[in-house]
Subunit: 189 residues, 4 copies
DNA sequence: CATGAATGAGGCTTCATTCAT
DNA sequence: AATGAATGAAGCCTCATTCAT
């Protein structure tokens, strides 16, 4: 599924590549959608756990943020997060199963929180409330870039330089954060 | 197709919604993939033409870059570039039809060049050669963010604030460009 | 058609390999069956003309028969008679177009007559009427073998030794003819 | 299939006439070709078993050969060996499925061996080695005639007199065998 | 817990043919 | 004399799913 998309992957293909007969697959997972949901959740949890380990000490906040970004990007090369491919496929396919959509948001939310935490520490000097606000804006930005990188890597793996992008993102986040902090506070954002 | 995904959209559905019988569709476009490629190319050319108009004068380089970014992002909301969805789909599906792959790269290359041109003007003071190098790095970054935004918008349209992201990208690009220019020149990059 | 059978050969395939658009094909030949009939007749006439040339003098009757057989078999290798493939295909496909069936019988009849003529000369000593009777029986036998050889050649071209078969057929025909002539005359055959 | 030809027989027609839905047919036989192969093998084995029974005692070798030929030919009328039609079809269609080609050769080889055995006994007086050689040549001849008869019967059933052809083949084989035995032995043939 | 067998619906594509130009 | 465009019907095959064992 993560290689060809949800609709394009038949149960019988999964059966062939796993050895289990289709009826057994239906015994374990209620339906095609159910199978998908299980697989995605599993892969996502593994990836997130990986990230969470990466933000442990030591170092100052900016260094920790950098390490987190490098870690996130490097998994794209080492062990591409299948769940991300699936997630992107599913969002593009406009799947309308609410369970699935919810699961997707949850994963996104949870990995976003890791970023927010790291960013809050960086912008701590602005005061807790403001730092959180700024961190959240920055996190959105970082997540978008992250997903974009994943796609770029799919399109043309050899042109992609994750290390460079991680360091550019680092620069960008600091600049954006600083910029946000110097603007007049808008409470509505 | 742009609504349900490539694999999930049957030719018969297209036939029904267009009024043409399937055999006529097959006469005009050689196959399902061929249909897709045609549609994508058409939509892409329109989008690119739109962007190209957005970088015309007036204003200084930095302003023009800003306008370009806003213009690009704003279309995501107003008139979502179907070609982007298709393009991303196809890249993830790892289609190996060389014609399609070529078409994809062409579109990507061409929209990238618009960004590069705008960025070159911004960094002109560094000298033509260096400016081009920096502009290209920045363009990669911008493209990745752009694609990421598209996906983010698919997953969670309400949380997305394109205007904000455009301005953040603006800030980020200037910071990244400046950062690159102050580093010791590496010719091999 | 002679390579894949009637039903398996599409008009569009013929169009592609001939350069003419399908509509032009339909202008020249009224239908698929009409095209088939034309092609077959043409190829058959050429082959028969070839055979007819082979039975010209010189030599005694037995020698002329031998030359005829060798000639017939040798074309299987040199220039396989496409009409034969077609004819066999069509007879196996149980085509029920009466025009076609008639055309097939005509061809068969005409090439049979060549054989009969050669055989009559060989058995002339038995008297004209008897010789003709014997010759006709022998011709049936020879035609059957001939068609069988064609098929055998299709199945396993390298195992087939046409020269050998031609000489065996020669021996066989003389033996059968002699055998028939020594039996009590049955007028009803 | 044996009535209308391979290409002209749709799976849906088979489905209709058998009661099974097409998907069930595809579950039992992997493909149209697979179905064909199965059917052919089954029919062939039955026919061969029939022949094998026909060569049992009593009688001298020449009589036994005659009985075998009559038996073989008579099935053409009584219960036409559908496998033969299919087999010929497939050989002419130049199918390149190796499984099918193998199956075809196997059937041909096996029915050929029956003939060889019967012929060996007839020519036994020439010594085992020579008899085998002669028998094999004769068998090729007989097989070709046999296949040719089948086709002739398709083209023009009423003109065909199998009994006559069987007895002619008998005469022919004895003549050819004798002829071969009186020639100087060529070891390389 | 596992699986072989079954199936209706629908997948993409090609068919032979027509017709306006 | 020729052809680009069009089309309904049919082609082979795979789909997700069920169920008796």
């Amino acid at each position: 599924m993560s290689e060809r998309g949800y609709a394009a992957t038949g149960i019988s293909a999964i059966s062939k590549s796993s050895g289990l007969p289709t009826s057994s697959i239906y015994w374990h997972f209620e339906s095609k959608q159910g199978l998908l949901a299980s697989v995605m959740e599993r892969s996502a949890l593994r990836w997130i756990a990986d990230l969470e380990r990466a933000q442990d000490p030591p170092g100052n906040p900016a260094e920790r943020l950098g390490r987190l970004l490098v870690r996130g990007f490097s998994t794209f090369e080492e062990r591409p997060p299948e769940f991300l491919r699936l997630a992107i496929f599913l969002s593009l396919e406009r799947s309308d199963d609410p369970k699935l959509v919810e699961s997707l948001r949850r994963v996104r939310e949870r990995s976003g929180r890791i970023l927010v935490t790291a960013l809050e520490a960086v912008f701590a000097e602005a005061g807790a409330a403001r730092a959180r606000q700024v961190a959240e804006e920055c996190a959105h930005f970082a997540m978008a870039l992250c997903e974009g990188c994943f796609i770029g890597h799919q399109i043309d793996p050899e042109q992609f330089d994750f290390e460079m992008l991680a360091s550019q993102l680092h620069v960008a986040l600091l600049a954006i954060g600083t910029d946000l902090m110097t603007r007049p506070t808008e409470m509505s954002a």
